[in-house]
């Protein structure tokens, strides 16, 4: 599994770190996801953090909100890299599923994450 897709979670404050830790607790897999926070970052600094986290691997970048600095950084990176896909509106369900499907292409994994994450949001009565 360690040679599969890399997941990067980009968020405000410490949300990404907490989500990555939670996925590790649930799945026992701790190498599939890396957290990146925008805390204290200008746009340029956040772009640097994201670039460093992704490295040279194919990756899916999970962003907390469907707008704002985290998504902007991810989209800016996406512009110059074909082996990266971006999913906005990350939730724990999609991350847990992602770690078991890292053999997919970035685009397919991102599509799957969107589907799984969307289905996980429900009103429970």
């Amino acid at each position: 599994m360690s040679n599969g897709l890399q997941g990067i979670v980009v968020s405000h404050a410490q949300l990404a770190e907490a989500m990555v830790a939670a996925v590790g607790e649930i799945t026992g897999q701790r190498d599939a996801l890396l957290p990146v926070t925008n805390e204290g970052c200008s746009r340029a600094r956040l772009a640097d953090r994201l670039t460093q986290a992704i490295g040279t691997r194919p990756a899916v970048v999970f962003v907390d909100l469907p707008g704002g600095s985290c998504l902007q950084a991810a989209l800016a990176y996406l512009r110059g890299h074909r082996d990266v896909a971006v999913v906005a509106g990350v939730n724990l369900a999609m991350l847990v599923d992602f770690v078991y499907h890292r053999e997919l292409t970035p685009a397919a994994a991102a599509q799957r994450a969107g589907d799984v994450g969307g289905r996980a949001v429900r009103v429970v009565e």
Partner: protein, 157 residues
Amino acid sequence: MTLSLVRVDDRLIHGQVVVGWGHALGAKQLVLVDDEVSTNQWERDIHRVGVPPDMAIEFLSVEQAAQRVPQWEASSSRTIVVLGEIAAAVRLCELAPQIKRVNLGGIHQAPGRRQRLPYVFMTDNEAGALASLVARGVEITAQDVPTARAVPLKELA
């Protein structure tokens, strides 16, 4: 006054601006003032992604924005103006003396800058340029979100 906020924030359009300040002020109009972004279609598209459908956004250069300030002041719709650089804010205030308040919302680490608050870093030259605006009657405070205390420039030495 319906030019509700003139903010310096190097993240430009992001959550604190759209959600935090946008909700608190009831702003329906967002203006990103940046000479580079205003001429770059791709950059404009990136920034549009984060703007909710009930909020309008415009992209203007500093000079274009200065010409529009009287219109925003006279409008019944509340407007938030965001600039990424202190120098641009200083230029805008010089060109549009109607602006009497500037909010420092997020100015992050860069070479030569010194930390003044967790979210405000400035060079001495930048602080001096802002101080010259204060001397001309512009109120300058640092405040990242509406619920935080507005910290006057003189406390950011």
